[in-house]
Symmetry: C2
Subunit: 344 residues, 2 copies
Amino acid sequence: MSENRTEIASLGEFGLIEHLTKNFETQQASTVVSVGDDAAVIDHFGKQTVVTTDLLIEGIHFDLMYTPLKHLGYKSVVVNVSDIYAMNATPTQITMSIGISNRFSLEALDEFYEGVYLACEKYGVDLIGGDTSASQKGFIISVTAIGEVSPGQFVQRSTANVGDLVCVSGDLGGAFLGLTLLEREKKIYLESPQVQPDLENESYIVGRLLKPEARKDIIQFFEQQQIRPTAMMDVSDGISSEILHICRQSKTGCRLFEEKLPIAEPSRAAAFKFGLDPTVCALNGGEDYELIFTLKQEDHEKITLNEEISVIGYITDLEEGHKLQTKGGNVFNITAQGWNAFHK
Amino acid sequence: MSENRTEIASLGEFGLIEHLTKNFETQQASTVVSVGDDAAVIDHFGKQTVVTTDLLIEGIHFDLMYTPLKHLGYKSVVVNVSDIYAMNATPTQITMSIGISNRFSLEALDEFYEGVYLACEKYGVDLIGGDTSASQKGFIISVTAIGEVSPGQFVQRSTANVGDLVCVSGDLGGAFLGLTLLEREKKIYLESPQVQPDLENESYIVGRLLKPEARKDIIQFFEQQQIRPTAMMDVSDGISSEILHICRQSKTGCRLFEEKLPIAEPSRAAAFKFGLDPTVCALNGGEDYELIFTLKQEDHEKITLNEEISVIGYITDLEEGHKLQTKGGNVFNITAQGWNAFHK
């Protein structure tokens, strides 16, 4: 945090928007009109437009006690562009609306927007509009991401076929273990503020939670290799929940294999430290922002060279149910225990 | 309100989305993929895409003590499609995200969505996505509206020219007077709950606040008459504030005439009743959702037949300042006293 504190009311709404957007230059040729009018104008030149939106609320989706504002700004963009990649599309623009209580200074907002702009730069998207408002309580963030795709090349959740391979990018469970660690440290801090947090060797899982990345590289790899997944979505609630969405919408069953679930070594170590089963963390932990997708078997060879992609199972007939085969050979039903904001 | 109360937690997030969207059919040919995937897909078939977004927060932008939820749902859509019309474009899709505390039941949400769907039907837009979340406090609404326009036919704020006519649709100040009335009645009610509200003869101004309409008819009229305004925006903060935006972005001055400001008879009567100057209400009252636009003088004849359009002044050189000429012949500087959420 900066030492200065500028009250946001001293700028007014239009002064604030001007302040927050003045140094940002658009990168996309498709951005015809950006911030500063009733609406923005986009020309996707014959491509199809892809749209997704997310609402993030302090105390529900994030805890500012252990979330730096810059990371929060970055993550707000990433979780939305991740949904665009999950359609096999390329993100091109975002709008960003925020509601802030008077406990936030202009310097705090600047930190948040530093993260926003960093993510915009990294993913090549333009910030083309938004809304700034007071809130009665806490920090509210609403992001809409827009992308483009060649006509008909988008990939939905409902189009997996029996026999397809089930694949996932990167590794699973890390963000959930990062959250578990930070919640634990928060509890210790609230009880004994003099105890210093023990985050040594935990930078991997903490990073997975606080600064996730969207899998632009996987979508680029698909394009280079001329692979089109049969179905795809991003992993925000946990792969148990996501594979059940794909199967329900595609009217299929599935069989996943515990031994194939990609779990990073630091995640495995953290799980053991907290007395948790790494497999359960990988299946039910949310916010990894990896991609889960299904592929025709004939595309298998194309993906073997990409170490960032794991085959974790296959799609079956609906009648065969939704099964996980354990390392010991037992078979369980997959149930969604994913994150549900309404039960928190 | 219905007599039944269903807890939202009993459905879960996906059950809730399914419940809220199950009866809605898309109307736009451009809606390729709608609700139920990571993102929606739109194909505007060679047209340009127009995007705007608004964040509405209980206690800041609306008061549920006198705002029926159905009206709130309707208005949330209208204020966004109004921004699309203000670009001289046609709204085609919206996304709707909501955050709700557990004080809201499923029946309450259903009322809100009744209004949303009514507005979608009236303006011919498809609801293609969104997000539902718990909130720590109050009701939070974030809407993004998407529209289309023939390439290059959009109208910005920055393109008014010296000599252009300044025009406004409909009449001004009504929504502000409706707000004044309802705030007064709320105060009376809180002090003496047995007193019945005195809303007789006030349905016009209350309607202007609670159920505004966007000026689709004006944009259609422009198309029929082959008129393209030189600059345009919608009236959300009051025309003082809006004309200053147009002049600042166009680097011009303006002269408006008090006697030309369109004020409906019920608004004028209400202003006198409250001891307010109707002209001040028309200049500085927000939320009328009319269109303010500038026209080439040669288009004057084309608009004379449309009773919904008033010429209220003209654009001048920047050096001549931003002036209002009163009925008595005095000339004042126009200053923006529009609504500012950060000073509330």
